[in-house]
Subunit: 336 residues, 3 copies
């Protein structure tokens, strides 16, 4: 169903410049054709405005010299506006309000009529779902789990017993929430004695979790994920971690147990955190960075070994193992 | 069901000091209230003994000056004792001895009556389960798998054919044991020719494997995991690896094929191992460490790029690429 | 069923030297017995020819002084030949052409009679499978997915809607193809606004993907994986990445969005790639290497922090944080 630009502006704000055309889809500047809307968020790509075939483009107010043969929506934040246009044109799927005949739902579970329950879903005793949840094929919701309204579990998500999700939490396929934390006591003969993990996981509202990610239950208390977080694929969050609100964690990041990450933090992919540390609000961690200590001053931390060819690396790496001696030798020279 | 301290001591040893009160749960020193037992394993937190509301605390014999208004259990290893109290108060779930009507069990599989088989479980031809196993919803046990007694597979675990588990092996949700190893021969025209993986996986007794972890089958022989191991979430173990007994491997660690890790080793999170190396018994590897060679001397190896702000890092990292030259320049200065 | 060496040579080429014996299995030189064939691909292990009990051995033409009591197949590439012998002795399982009664297949999906569909499989509306596919237990194929001929999905694989697989694509258990990319716009108040991901995933012919791996759908366009690729376990490929043909990516590697990797590349385990970069054809990346910039010259890049004991590391690492100053001090000395 095509949308008139004027109708988009009426719903999302911004200012229409040029003809009021119909839009069918959203594409990048290079892929767009006459029925598509695109966006320019980075002024350095402004030249693409001259070559794009997009029928309409979302631009910032400070872009001058717009080619005249196009339509534009002028918006303060073109990237955010683009996201909102996508939501308008591709609204999230709603609950079908149907329970598949194969689903196994414990008679003491609470599943409102407004929920969609897919094939081969299992919902355990005393689990409680909010309105309009979508639980897709093969997901398992353990006993005593509580889900808010409009949660979405993609296929084969596993919620261990006692997991609590707020409203509008989305979890992608094959993620596991609430598995046992990695807690073991070492005996005198150096064997491992499992520490029963009796806590739970609490996730706030509007948080999205990617595919094949893990959030372990707390050992005694809870593991807590805030509201409005974005957690990517293959993220591992250990027991008793506390992640603040509106924090984003990119793929392949591992966070050891009992680490506390503040609000509004951004963590790049494949970062790793030791346990029992605390990261200040608004901290940014670059991809591949090992966070080995607490951070009390928000800044952009980004440290990883700089890339070289293997041949160059071999020559240099050997000296890293002897930096202490090199430093002493320089000091000795300075004394002379 | 509350437990008397005297009853705990009767079962687990240790010495009761103070009143014989009823305990309902186990909490941290800061969360505990009058009906809870807590523990002090690190003497540096001794001050918390004065502020905690715990009714009882497990302490080491060398802690002196215990506040008098509390009850104590004096035990040689308070952390281990705490784990044992947890087991007493929260014993592991037993098999319900029920087979869910939806489970698909091959007529030639052996599943003792004592086992619990969840909804949508699939058990293949000639698979053989020991007594009291718990196979939770959606798990798949391939043909010719052998499980010992009291194994627990959490939901959606996949055992490829020919996987062997010892007794009391626990595998958390969405882990995969026995997928094909990464074996490919390169042809003259640089395409990949798959090497059929015909080995299996053998896991010893009392080993626990976390969620979303992978242990690949051997190429020709077997991949072997010892007894009493602890393997965390998102661990990847390549084909033909051999992991010794009582070794613990924290989350996000990747171990390349044919690597042999000894007994009683401890591997921190997000470590990585190249293939075809051998690690001595009792070796400890720190988190995020790249293990690029065999280790024949047990020690604590821990090497990762030290964290800095991105701004500082940029200034320093550039010199890493030229350390060899810097070293030569220092040598030249020394000659002068 | 045993195979005569002469029959193997008739099918695969190479030259038989010695007696024409029956072979039952393939083993390593150290494990093989009289009924086994083994191979010697690396001349440095030539001594094992004297001690092995293998009945037959595949060797390269340049190996001289072969012990006389054995049979040999002389082949240009013994490792590749060994792989082909394995295929001959252990041919891949064929479709059983059976649809399990529990499978839920949408009436508008196209599933040829030649396909094998396992228990608890879900196939969505308008999904289309080629001939002889094997979809094992619990896998979920979303709406509008297209699979070529002879694809194999191991248990619990999830294909989100609109995923396209070529012919002979194999995906191991618990992998997820087509989950939402990690796309979020940040609002003025620093909260995250989800960018609907409306693209798809296209995978070429003959590509194999390991277990618990993820390939996200494109944001607007597609994420594309070439033909003949080998992708190992726990690999994460972000939205809009383009991976060329015949590229191999080892386990635990993470590739950020919109990165383009060329043809015939080899990526070691636990490598990580920032987004929006381009890697030349035939590039080799070592394990654990952080690829932080585009590579336009194919070479072997391999950089990671060299391993040391923690005690040595502490002494050296501190100087990394001050390399810039050390370099300046050396320069000052040189001026004197």
């Amino acid at each position: 169903m095509p949308h008139l630009l004027s109708s988009i502006v009426a719903q999302l704000g911004g200012k229409l410049v040029g003809q009021d055309i119909h839009i069918q889809s959203v594409k990048t500047l290079s892929d767009a054709t006459a029925n598509d809307i695109s966006f320019l968020s980075n002024p350095k790509y402004k030249k693409q405005l001259e070559t794009t075939n997009a029928g309409a483009i979302i631009v910032a107010p400070n872009i001058v010299g717009l080619p005249e043969n196009k339509s534009y929506i002028v918006a303060d934040d073109p990237y955010l506006y683009f996201a909102k246009v996508l939501h308008l044109l591709y609204p999230p799927q709603k609950s079908t309000r149907q329970v598949h005949e194969t689903a196994v739902i414990h008679r003491n579970a609470i599943v409102p009529d407004s929920c969609e329950i897919g094939a081969f879903v299992v919902i355990g005793e005393n689990a409680q779902l909010g309105e309009n949840c979508r639980i897709l094929s093969g997901s398992v919701i353990g006993e005593n789990c509580v889900l808010g309204d409009e949660c979405v579990l993609y296929p084969s998500v596993v919620l261990y017993p006692k997991t609590h999700l707020g409203n509008r939490v989305m979890i992608h396929a094959n993620s596991v929430i609430g598995a046992d934390g990695f807690g073991n006591a070492r005996t005198a003969d150096k064997t491992w004695y499992k520490i029963p993990q009796i806590g739970g996981v609490i996730i706030g509202d509007d948080t999205e979790i990617g595919a094949n990610s893990n959030i372990d239950k707390g050992a005694l208390g809870n593991t807590e994920i805030g509201s409005g977080c974005r957690i990517d694929n293959q993220v591992q969050i250990g027991h008793n971690c506390i992640i603040g609100n509106h924090t984003a964690i990119a793929a392949c990041t591992g966070i050891s147990g009992s680490t506390k990450i503040g609000n509004y933090c951004i963590v790049g992919g494949a970062a790793m955190f030791v346990g029992h540390i605390e990261i200040a609000d608004h901290t940014i961690i670059g991809g591949g960075t090992a966070v080995t200590r607490s951070i009390d001053k928000p800044d952009f931390y980004a440290t990883c070994y700089p890339i070289q060819t293997q041949k160059e690396w071999v020559k240099n790496a050997v000296h890293i193992r002897h930096l202490n001696e090199l430093s002493k030798r320089v000091k000795a020279l300075e004394k002379q």
